[in-house]
Amino acid sequence: MGRDIAVLVKASLNPEVVRQGAEGAYDIDYTPLKISDVDRNALEEAARLKSILGGRVYSITVLTWGPSKARDKDLKLAVQEALAKVADEAYVVVDDSIIPGDPIVTSNVIVGVLKSRGLKPALILAGEASVDESTSQVPGRVAAKLGYSYVGYVRRILEVRENSVVVERDVEEYVETLEAPLPAVLSVTQEINEPRPPTLIQIRMASKKPLHVLSLAGIGLNVKPKRLIKEMRVVTVFRKQVVLEEANLEKAAEKLIEYLDKEGVLRI
């Protein structure tokens, strides 16, 4: 078994930017991609563990949303962050035949990248959920396909031993301490660390690191998404958006109370 770490990095649709298109349909083309927030925690953790494991770090990204031409800039930005932060190399799979993707495609492609390049990481780190779909399933799928052990929702990596890793896993009502044999896939939560943005020097160095852009044929794979999206609609909740910007806070409080009273939500 190697000592390398692979980090799964998704270029997710940014949920802060949701716009309604024709007839309430979600205008997906308008939403930019960004690195999925929790993947930053996975990268930060990889940076911490790199010296402990002593191997290399590579990031793997599969483009889910297209068209690929229009997404190129956002995708590169997400991958550059992985390279700047910690990765020695980045693998990016871009193929319009698997767009829009689904978790079956994504997990098969990740495994395809590892197998076709002969990569055998000791640890595969990922975020607990992507910010667009948040289905939390790609890490588990990858573990099952590779025969790695799997722990999801890791809040703390306590120790990396010769043949195992000791972690704290967050469940709804309790926290477990677990020992998982290596190689392992771990999905991490945002509590695991405080991700620091890469430094200017790291950003500059990133452009010199290898970035492998691969197609499906390039990894010798033939998969197709199984999900067919029929409709996406923006959920509209009407909010009054009255903003009180008063220098006099007494007045602001009085006005607010008056509004709430009128709404009938103060039990006066």
Binding site: L13, P15, E16, V18, Y26, D102, I104, S107, V131, D132, E133, S134, T135, S136, Q137, V138, G140, R141, A143, A144, Y150, V151, G152, Y153, D170, V171, E172, Y174, V175, E176, T177, L178, E179, P181, E191, K226, R227, I229, K230, M232, R233, V234, V235, R239, Q241, V242, V243, L244, E246, L249, E250, A252, A253, L256, I257, L260, D261, V265, L266, R267
Partner: protein
């Protein structure tokens, strides 16, 4: 066999059985609480397989073996962490679709049709996947099934697991049911210390409100118990009035409060995204504004003072 139900709690069993029956006679795989109280699960009248372990890996192995022998068209379960992890392993090993946080599910002939939230629930997605498929549902999307008869209970042994449990620690929980509260004050990272939350508690007292907060307030700072965190990965609330103080309005937080009748935001940053997601916003430093608001309310609502 048409459907397999994975039940983790007695409270999920009825709803899951109701959905599973749409596809034919189900069998039930009982896990955690449902395994401990297996007789109550058997009261739906279907055969129950019991896994005596609370490990996702154990659930995965049991489900994989039942999948082989029963050949179900759909597996339904709750959208909770242990079941999600177990079903991700199963879906990966079989390369079949897994859908989570499902709010609508129906048989579309050769495909399974479903609806779920997307983009922090700011969008709903309707999609279809081919059978066989695994669908993890949100709670309270259907009426629970009626109990009828008594199913046979079969024990399931899953053998040695790869991942070992070293210890388990219960979280400190308040037991407060924020999801049932009529008024909620939500606190965010605009507060600088735990003591300062008193400003929110005093406001809450006058309003007869419960206090909840954003995820970092509960998990990173531990200023509130973990069942007081509101949002996509925490509690979903639907009060008449939600007052968010020092909360920026991240989509993951706001999806948990979208059912509120009236939303008020207090934030010192005029450009905070919460203002366009609120009915009434006050641009102010919470440290200056909350004491004033509380004392004015105290005059108006003397009975609570």
């Amino acid at each position: 066999m048409k459907a397999l139900v994975v039940s983790q709690r007695l409270s999920d069993a009825g709803e899951l059985v109701a959905v599973a029956r749409r596809f034919g006679e189900p069998a039930i795989l009982a896990f955690q609480e449902s395994a401990l109280k297996v007789e109550e699960v058997a009261a739906y009248g279907h055969r129950v397989y019991r896994v005596r372990s609370d490990r996702p890996e154990a659930l995965y192995r049991a489900a994989a073996s039942l999948y082989e022998s029963l050949n179900p068209k759909v597996i339904v379960g709750p959208s909770v962490k242990n079941v999600k992890d177990a079903m991700a392993l199963l879906a990966g090993s079989l390369d079949i679709p897994l859908i989570t946080e499902v709010v609508e599910l129906s048989d579309g002939g050769s495909v399974l049709t479903y609806k779920r939230g997307f983009m922090s629930e700011r969008v709903t997605m309707t999609a279809e996947v081919p059978y066989p498929a695994i669908a993890l549902l949100n709670p309270k999307i259907v009426k629970p099934a009626e109990k009828a008869g008594r199913g046979e209970v079969v024990d399931f042994d899953v053998g040695d697991l790869k991942v070992n449990v070293v210890g388990v620690r219960a979280k400190e929980l308040s037991g407060v049911k924020l999801e049932e509260a009529e008024v909620v004050v939500g606190v965010g990272r605009g507060f600088k210390s735990r003591e300062d939350l008193n400003l929110a508690f005093e406001l809450a007292k006058i309003l007869g409100a419960q206090v909840g907060g954003t995820r970092p307030i509960a998990t990173d700072f531990k200023w509130l118990p973990e069942d007081a965190w509101i949002g996509i990965s925490g509690k979903r609330i639907a009060p008449k009035l939600y007052i968010a103080v020092g909360v920026s309005g991240a989509p993951q937080h706001m999806s948990g409060v979208s059912g509120s009748k009236v939303i008020v935001a207090v934030n010192k940053d005029k450009s905070a995204p919460i203002f366009i997601q609120a009915d009434y916003g006050v641009v102010a430093d919470l440290y200056k504004f909350l004491p004033i608001l509380t004392s004015k309310l105290r005059e108006k609502l003397p009975r609570r003072a």
